[in-house]
């Protein structure tokens, strides 16, 4: 199966957040209401109960006036995914259509993937002591359906399809936008980290949307790949100790976060 991707065109997104709800519906994730921080954004970032999120950015330019940028964030499904390489348990794999899938059965909650991910996408779910994240609806795609977010998008901002075809569409869109009021329009996800299965058409430079301009795999992953994995047998007790340490520290950290109402589903939420 060819690589399948989501194309997200910010110039067509109205931040209705239908994708955010469709994602929770398909994945049966609970609603978690967080304290108001002065913006329409529901959570600071994606989290264990929120795989898809729309971020809001307000800015003002002395010439062009007020801007309100929106961006949909979820797993990028990198072609060469760091999380796959980093996981000591082999809990990550690539689906036939190119989505990065995480198997909770194998996950030990060590969160190496979280630190390895240049986009900090895999998030720890305290209740289950596991990582969770967007699957690009691999279960739907296997059945010939499109991902829940793309299916629900009313304004045509999200398109799911063959990655190469979408790249062509994206390039045409960027060309059009550059001629029509967005000289800095750009494509994101074509070359970054060797290519992503979430391709963005941006109306401005990536930093305006809180995307890393030149994302890099983290250095610790190099260590893991070059040293730990080749000498796996040698270092296994060390690795286990490390994951135990990480388990304890994250528990402590998560307990603190819990006070802010992080992991408490709203009563009646579909869990």
């Amino acid at each position: 199966m060819a690589n399948k991707a989501n194309l997200y065109d910010v110039s067509r997104c109205t931040a209705c957040r239908g994708c955010q709800v469709a994602c929770k519906d398909w994945n049966q994730l609970p609603a978690v209401i967080e304290p108001f921080t002065g913006s329409y954004q529901t959570h600071e970032d994606t989290n264990g109960d929120t795989f898809t999120i729309i971020k809001f950015f307000e800015s003002e330019d002395p010439v062009t006036g007020v801007h309100w940028n929106f961006i949909k964030r979820s797993c990028m499904h990198c072609l060469d995914a760091e999380c796959v390489k980093a996981c000591p348990q082999g809990a990550y794999m690539k689906s036939p259509s190119g989505a990065t899938i995480h198997d909770p059965e194998k996950c030990i909650g060590c969160q190496y993937c979280t630190y390895a991910c240049p986009f900090e996408i895999p998030k720890y779910r305290k209740r289950e002591d596991k990582i969770s994240k967007c699957t690009l609806c691999a279960d739907r795609v296997e059945e010939g359906l499109t991902p829940a977010c793309a299916r629900t998008c009313p304004s045509g901002a999200l398109t799911f399809g063959d990655r190469n075809e979408l790249l062509q569409q994206a390039e045409a869109r960027v060309k059009y936008l550059r001629k029509n009021g967005f000289p800095r329009a750009t494509i994101y996800g074509k070359l970054e980290l060797g290519g992503l299965n979430n391709i963005f058409v941006l109306t401005d430079t990536p930093d305006k949307f809180d995307l890393p301009v030149n994302p890099q795999p983290s250095a610790t992953i190099g260590f893991w790949q070059n040293w730990v994995q080749p000498y796996f047998g040698w270092l296994i007790p060390l690795a286990l100790a490390g994951s135990a340490m990480s388990f304890v520290t994250t528990r402590l950290l998560a307990n603190k976060q819990g006070e802010h109402g992080h992991d408490h589903p709203v009563e009646g939420g579909h869990e």
Binding site: T14, G38, S39, T42, E58
Partner: protein, 853 residues
């Protein structure tokens, strides 16, 4: 829109937005409240290079996607648009052929008509009402209006309009609206470019336009702009009234308004002019009032002959009698004037709109209230007062999916207020004697039936799931209620009980006690009283009792197919576009009224000769005159008919030799688009004039009158002034919540998206008031106080109004004390005052103050 074009409907439809060259979105936040329309607007942008303009007090998610955003102070739309009219006229940007032929620009006006210091002729300050006698055409001996097609006569509508708007120069307009001059000019340039014959532009509006004391005149101002630019009745043009919720169009079609009966016919009153059927018909049929007819037969003969100044509404008698036959069946006979006396007559002196009902309730004049799909404790204006009024009820029935704020208006929680306020009542459940009943209602996906969306498409919806628990579809609830009432009156011989005893109420299905939707639909769409077969269109309705039809505009939605089966057209699901040039008419998807015309007044899409498209715009021609076509296949001798991709909104046989050939607005007596609204069409002036909102931060600038002189003031002591309340307040919705939030605040995933009652304020005001982003604030008006969270944003900016800095704040009105997302209802702040014509409350512009909590 009805006074301008003849029908109060969205003229085009949502898909048609893809055909526009420029969309002026004003008083509407389509990206948030009608998200699907953005799909089509993006297509217009990408395929036609269309420009999207957003005019709004606040930068919204619509502004974020618009090409051009211009701010304006709430309640100053007429100033903004009046300036546009002047700009069009001064720079000759109007579509001349269109204006001369399709509007009343050339009509001469009565010499006694005039306008001075903000008042039109005929004003009586004591009653706050106009005598509209002088707002009329100059007529010849035959009663026909005089015209000057050169548009030079100083008494012609065109010249009077030019004079009226001469005061609306750009500097004056910007001093009223607070719009930066460069932005205003950019809007004028961009939108008025659609006056070129090969361009069309559409206007998209919603509650930001209607919820003002000048709401109806705001829409009149749109109408004038669109008629001058030649944008009506053409693809990509029109005035798109985005309905506040799905099926608002259906609700108005069914006459869920006090002043009409189904099909937009004035409802009868307790006056001598309405004393019997013939008097009523003469009163509601245009041009018939002075006819020397005394009974239905004579009227029928006169209608057959035709009389001037009547338009298509000459057929009103057929619609009224067919409706009476539908309601009272066998009991509606020629001998008893088709049971006209059964129809309730409203008190001529009384108003029965939302504000009026609650004012009367507050005075203790109303015993009982049936609230269905409505939540006035959150959604009603001056909600503190309305909640207090409900305590005077003996009983109340609430019908909803959840126990909403209205169903629980008597609880402790319902009377919690953030601060003590002597003007706001304090109550506990012990003080309230109202008996409250609750009927659980089925959700939209748990029932079948039709809903008419904003573009008049009546779409059938099949049931997706069974209702939960004891909840029932609304139709079942009303049907059971009707049966129970009829049972209570059964056998009564009292004459006053006849309307109930004789009411037709036989909708029972074959399978059980529930009503059969198809039986209701058949009655609505009309049937032959002998054969019970559907009537094939309202042209076939009669006033002799041979047809029955509950709502004439829906006539034609049900048909007998050649194989004898009956088809209910709203169930049609053919999603192929039938138009040759890809205009997206989708005529075989569902059905729309009238007679499946997707774009009304479509006669305007072709030049006056009826054949030639507008220069350079052949692809957007909808209809044309074909001298060789047949208008009626059974009459081959009558050659010539109107044909086209859309159903012609015109009498098909109207040939070039008839004067009506160039009269596209068939529902108007004169057939022309109304730049000038004659006589009683409007209560507050033939031309829109800017007046300040009831609560305004400024003295009048363009004239000497502050408030719309014809708006009814209910409670003068509830008016706030700018010395105590210097900040403008406005309310709105967000995409995440639906109306009063009774539905969405009970759904965890939607509550999560917008969990808090927020007030949006500018950074400048936040600094002045030392308010932190995310901090708690108290907002106060003359009517009450609310607590909310501050959302400090760059998207609100202070206005420069006539040299003075004026702040505006905005808030969501969708919160209450029930559900997962709770907060104080913003409507505890809004006033009890409404538009002079439609009585729509002024939710959108009032005065308040804000402080840290």
């Amino acid at each position: 829109m009805s006074p301008s074009f003849g029908r109060g409907v969205m003229t085009n439809h949502i898909v048609d937005m893809k055909n526009t060259d420029c969309a002026l979105i004003m008083g509407s936040n389509v990206a948030e409240n009608h998200p699907i329309s953005m799909k089509w607007l993006f297509k217009a942008k990408e395929n036609r290079g269309a420009k999207l303009i957003h005019v709004d007090p606040r930068f919204t998610r619509t502004s974020a996607r618009a090409d051009l955003y211009a701010p304006l102070r709430s309640g100053t739309d007429i100033a903004f648009l009046g300036g546009m009219v002047k700009y069009i006229l001064d720079n000759e940007l109007y579509h001349k052929d269109y204006v001369v032929n399709y509007t009343n620009a050339a009509f001469l006006i009565d010499d006694k008509y005039g306008f001075k210091d903000g008042l039109f002729t005929g004003y009586d300050p004591a009653t706050r009402k106009y005598d509209t006698a002088t707002w009329d055409y100059k007529k010849d001996d035959q009663g026909m209006a005089l015209t000057d097609p050169t548009l030079q006569d100083p008494r012609c509508v065109f010249q009077l309009m030019k004079k009226h708007y001469s005061r609306y120069d750009i500097d004056t307009v910007c001093s009223i609206t607070g719009t930066p001059k460069d932005k205003y000019l950019e809007v004028l340039d961009t939108f008025c470019a659609t006056g070129k014959p090969d361009k069309t532009g559409c206007i998209i509006y919603a509650m930001g336009i209607t919820q003002h004391t000048v709401g109806a005149q705001n829409i009149r101002a749109f109408s004038i702009v669109q008629l001058l630019l030649g944008n009506m009745g053409r693809p990509g043009g029109g005035i798109n009234a985005m309905r506040g919720e799905n099926n608002v169009q259906g609700a108005t079609d069914m006459a869920l308004l006090f002043h009409i009966i189904p099909g937009y016919i004035d409802s009868p009153m307790n006056t001598t002019a309405n004393k019997d059927l013939i008097s009523f018909l003469k009163a509601v049929t245009p041009g018939a009032a002075k006819l020397p007819v005394t009974n239905l037969e004579e009227l029928r003969a006169a209608v057959k002959e035709g009389f001037p100044n009547s338009g298509f509404k000459i057929n009103t008698s057929k619609w009224v009698v067919s409706m009476l036959k539908a309601w009272w069946g066998e009991a509606a006979k020629p001998e008893n004037n088709f049971a006209y006396d059964y129809l309730p007559k409203r008190d001529e002196k009384k108003n029965y709109s939302h504000i009026a009902i609650f004012e009367a309730m507050h005075k203790g004049e109303i015993d009982g209230l049936f609230v269905s799909g409505s939540n006035p404790v959150v959604g009603g204006p001056n909600a503190n007062k309305e909640q207090e009024a409900m305590c005077n009820l003996k009983w109340m029935v609430s019908c909803d999916l959840w126990l909403n704020e209205t169903a629980e208006f008597w609880t402790y929680q319902a009377w919690e207020r953030p601060v003590k306020n002597e003007k706001v009542a304090e109550k506990t459940p012990a003080d309230i004697q109202t008996e409250v009943f609750f009927l659980p209602a089925a959700a939209v996906y748990e029932k079948e039936g039709t809903a008419a969306q904003t573009g008049r498409w009546v779409q059938y919806r099949w049931k997706g799931a069974d209702p939960v628990g004891e909840s029932k579809p609304d139709l079942d609830i009303i049907y059971d209620l009707g049966k129970a009432i009829k049972k209570a009156y059964a056998g009564s011989k009292r004459i006053e009980d006849e309307p109930i005893v004789n009411l037709t109420w036989d909708y029972e299905s074959k399978h059980g006690p529930e009503p059969d939707i198809m039986k209701v639909a058949l009655e609505l769409c009309g049937y032959d009283t002998k054969t019970k077969a559907p009537v094939e269109g309202f042209a076939k309705l009669t006033d002799d009792g041979a047809t029955a039809c509950g709502c004439w505009v829906y006539c034609g939605a049900m048909t007998t197919l050649p194989d004898g089966t009956v088809q209910y057209k709203p169930q049609k699901r053919d999603n192929k576009d039938n138009s040759k040039t890809g205009l997206g008419l989708f005529s075989n998807w569902a059905w729309c009224w009238p007679m499946n015309r997707r774009i009304v007044y479509n006669r305007c899409s072709v030049q006056p000769d009826g054949v030639t498209p507008w220069p350079g715009d052949a692809e957007r021609q909808l209809v044309r005159w074909d001298p060789l076509a047949l208008s009626d296949p059974t009459k081959p001798e009558l050659l010539g008919s109107w044909v086209g991709d859309d159903v012609p909104d015109f009498l098909k046989p109207t040939s070039p030799d008839k004067p009506a050939f160039t009269s596209p607005f068939i529902m108007r007596a004169d057939g022309k688009g109304g730049l000038f609204a004659t006589k009683t069409l409007m209560k507050d002036g033939p031309f829109p004039e800017h007046y300040e909102p009831w609560e305004s931060p400024t003295a009048p600038i363009i004239n000497k009158i502050a408030l719309n002189p014809a708006a009814k003031v209910w409670a003068p002591d509830e008016q706030g002034t700018s010395d105590k309340y210097p900040i403008i307040g406005t309310t709105y919705r967000v995409v995440e919540h639906w109306q009063t939030g009774a539905l969405t605040r009970n759904l965890p995933w939607l509550a999560e998206l917008m969990p808090n009652m927020i007030v949006e304020i500018s950074e400048e005001l936040a600094k002045e008031k030392k308010i932190k982003n995310g901090g708690e604030v108290i907002v106060s008006t003359m009517r009450g106080d609310i607590k909310a969270l501050a959302c400090v944003t760059k998207r609100f900016k202070p206005f420069n109004v006539n040299g003075k800095t004026v702040h505006e704040i905005g808030m969501l009105w969708q919160y209450g004390f029930k559900g997962y997302a709770t907060g104080d209802p913003a409507n505890r702040l809004t006033p009890h005052i409404g538009d002079a014509n439609a009585m729509c409350p002024e939710y959108k512009a009032w005065l308040c103050d804000i402080r840290r909590a």
